[in-house]
Amino acid sequence: MHMLRRDKKEEEDGGGNPFHNIEKSSVLQEARTFNESPINPRKCAHILTKVLYLINQGEQIGTTEATEAFFAMTKLFQAKDPILRRLVYLGIKEMSKIAQDVIIVTSSLMKDMTGREDQFRGPAIRALCSITDTTMLQSIERYMKQAIVDKVNAVSSAALVSSLHLSKCSQDVTKRWVNEAQEAVSSDNIMVQYHALGLLYHIRKYDRLAVTKLVTKFSKHSLKSPYAYCLLVRLCYCLLEILCFVYFIRTDSPMFDFIENCLRHKSEIVIYEAAHAIVNLKNTSAKELASAVPVLQLFCSSAKPTLRFAAIRTLNKVAMKHPAAVTACNLELENLITDSNRSIATLAITTLLKTGSESSIDRLMKQISSFMNEISDEFKIVVIQAIQSLCSKFPRKHPVLMNFLSSVLRDEGGFEYKKAIVDSIITIIEDNPEAKEAGLAHLCEFIEDCEHTVLATKILHLLGREGPRTPTPSKYIRFIYNRVILENAAVRAATVTALAKFGAHCEELLPSCIVLLERCLLDTDDEVRDRATFYVQTLKQQQKSLKSTYILNGLQVSVVGLERALHHYTMEPTETPFDVKSVPLETAPITDSKQVREPGEAGGQKTEKVAASRQDIYAEQLSSIPEFANLGNLFKSSSLPVQLTESETEYVVQCVKHTFSHYIVFQFDCSNTLNDQVLENVTVHMEPADGFQVLKCVPCASLPYNKPGTTYTLVHLPEDPTLVTGTFSCTLKFIVKDCDPNTGEPDDEGYEDEYVLEDVEVSVADHVQRVMKPNFGVSWEEVGLENELEDTYALSTMKTLEEAVQNIIKFMGMQPCERSDKVPEGKSSHTLYLAGVYRGGHDGLVRAKLALSDAGVTMQLTVRSTDPDVSEVMATAIG
């Protein structure tokens, strides 16, 4: 007992690690001992262990040093000591990437690999494969083939796994080992069988048909190894996913039957893998789940914590999509809340939150609060996300949930955790107007004592946007102004902006806001001072348009585009001042409002970032093509490529439209799926609609198998400003040359051919860029009545308001403002606000009043714009 306690203490001190304070240079110095003879195996083993420790700790060893140590290590081959020899194998594997001339040990390893000492053979194979490159592979091929079918299991497994690693860089050579691998699959040893199946799959993984054959063959053949079964289940799962995706084949295929049969396998690991696969299939129905869920339910009451964890984790995922299916397990789940393993308990409770009914929420929340501070941040985030989704499911329960969130916000926790809470509160506020006041109050309280600058600025920004529109904006001012006194420069700057927004929005608060802002004029930080000066001056002008342009609406150009434009401007100085209008506008990320945000899917934000910068990437690509250098600035690129062919045809073509102020560039991304053809001089011939004029084609010089290529067509837009839409029929024209599928070497002679594509349409949406107007009312007034057009339409094909809203947004290609794209439930009328910028830089605003009637949806469309033609074009977009 005493010993034990001491050990524990040592561990805490870090004194338990004998390599605690070793140094690279001294260890490498010691490694010279390897050169001495005779060799002292014990001493050398100790030094080699230190070297390995250093490498595994991430120590960087230079090539020269590593090579020296490596060659010293090769001398250890003369010792017969088994421990030392196996350390040498490890050393070779670790240093194979950093030292030079590692092939020096090839023959020594080959000798060990074919030698009599069985315990050297497996490691020798692994070490040999790590130093062998494609050029040397031929020389060891014969030995590898022999090793794969060796009767010693460890040797066979080592050879199979090494081949798998080799197949990553030299697919062609390992392909020739299929026969040996086939033989190894029938081995009695479970590991050999598993590894052999793995190798067979990796050799064929690029050939879907061959994989299907492999799976069909082995799912009939009874395998011994549970691991091999797991692999088969995974392969079946992948194949089923592809089948469902491409051919819409439902789950009555033999592969699904195989997975279902695995549910009755005698090994738990196979049963779990099968249940996991069924649950994760993209379009599983309740019927299919019915077979998998009982198995997981059984695991929930297993004695093994790993099984319980696996089962609850999977059920938790099921609960996101099919909460009803999991309801049957509620009893088991409630038992798991008190599980001694906190991870299991957390998952149980979050699953219950998803499956639970409105009435059980209060009870669950109590249970959660009792153990919230016993679990790690990572799981706390899972709980928070579950609560967030609960709130959107049962909006009436928001007071309970909001209270819980605010109480956990006060607790200790890391940045990620706090961020999850704040994000949840913000989402709830945005989705549920009733929760707004309470949520804002909680956030105000939080920033009083917030150590994370990022969160504080985020909340201040939100307050600036939402606060002025609440019934009593004045109560937020105190919280906001406190920041100016107490916080760092970044937060103070955000505060100044938030204050200015209150001033710009609420007439009655304007004088006090100006007073508060004036106090910031003497701030120590430049940024804060600059902002304050700017806002004070703007607010004092008392002009609506100034306020809305410079305070409420913010900067709407793309940041990358602005940087490039400014750089360009400074490189070529001119007399004319810089024009912000020439900068491409920021593409508002397109988020589908119907999409239910699932907790745990952190992907959401990432895709937004990509969408925002994609246009900048296109702009860069286009400007590098000399033909398009003088078209001016790229105004808009269409968001998603349009498929012009079926997905499984010989040639796949998709189109992206790039709009410039007087031109449209059609970008055709083509790929050739025939491996015995090379296409050359590929162009897309377009038959233009009225008024459009095809100017130029930029051909794709060569389109070999499976390598995407791009061809462009430049079209001049009609002079008549109201003529903007049209349909183009397209034909792919090219010269075909037959080629050898293996080498890709084309014949000299080719012949011309063409391939008819689907039509490309240019719609109003292609001329309009989405722009977010945070305060639509002010912008609406600002544009004024001058170019207003109004019309009433009956949309007979639309059955619901949501459908109508989605379609209008799609046709107009504009950004919905004021969250008007979300139709409150149970209403029969709705007003949609859209904002955008038309090609040429004219603002366009649309107000669509929708009413639901028996004969569909009636719409009164009002368009305002700074240009009469633009109003006309926009008004005709829906027809």
């Binding site: 003879s37 005779p38 090769t74 001398k75 081959f77 003369q78 092939i103 020594s108 000798k111 040397m136």
Partner: protein
């Protein structure tokens, strides 16, 4: 080191150890020579070109040899120098039937002799004029003249003998010389 082994060392009973470095051009018969020195049951039947090196241990009279059998292929020759430091003796194998590449062999030898780990030490060098069974092969005397051994090796003991690695002919004579030289050098120390 235990007391007994130290005692044995003092008494001179202890088995002496020596590291040998086996070098020479590719296809001259280095691996075959080493193979021939091993006991009959441990020999490998087919000899493939060595990649890098292999280590072998064998006994001759009272000396225990550890031989580093280096690859002779052109691109690996520059790796020989890593093993110069600790060798007690060098075996340089010549293909006596390959008159054309004798000059290359001489070049490699001169380079090795110029290396600082070899130059300063008085280590014995044994030459095997291998493949004596072939008709176009040169005698050992002719080989040493072509290689200008007299001229290039002045401060080290050296010896050349004809051999046939396939049958083992001549190997014994060469190793007798090497063992004697090494033993006398060890005793001098």
């Amino acid at each position: 080191m235990g007391f007994l082994s130290r005692l044995a060392e003092i008494m001179g009973f202890k088995k002496k150890e020596a590291n040998l470095l086996v070098i020479g051009l590719d296809n001259s018969g280095k691996t075959t020579i080493i193979d021939q020195l091993k006991p009959e049951d441990k020999r490998s039947r087919d000899v493939a070109p060595t990649v890098g090196f292999t280590v072998d241990r064998f006994k001759n009279n009272s000396l225990q040899f550890t031989a580093f059998d280096m690859s002779g292929q052109g691109r690996y020759r520059n790796l020989w120098e890593h093993y110069f430091k600790n060798c007690d003796g060098i075996i340089f194998v010549l293909d006596s039937s390959d008159k054309l590449r004798m000059a290359v062999a001489k070049d490699e030898l001169d380079q090795a002799l110029k290396h600082e780990d070899i130059m300063k030490r008085r280590i014995p060098i044994l030459f095997f004029a291998n493949k004596m069974d072939l008709r176009e092969s040169m005698t050992s005397v002719r080989c040493s003249m072509v290689m200008e051994l007299e001229k290039s090796i002045r401060d080290k003991p050296w010896h050349i003998c004809s051999s046939n690695a396939k049958t083992g002919e001549g190997l014994h004579e060469g190793f007798e010389w090497l063992t004697d030289t090494l033993k006398s050098m060890l005793n001098d120390k």
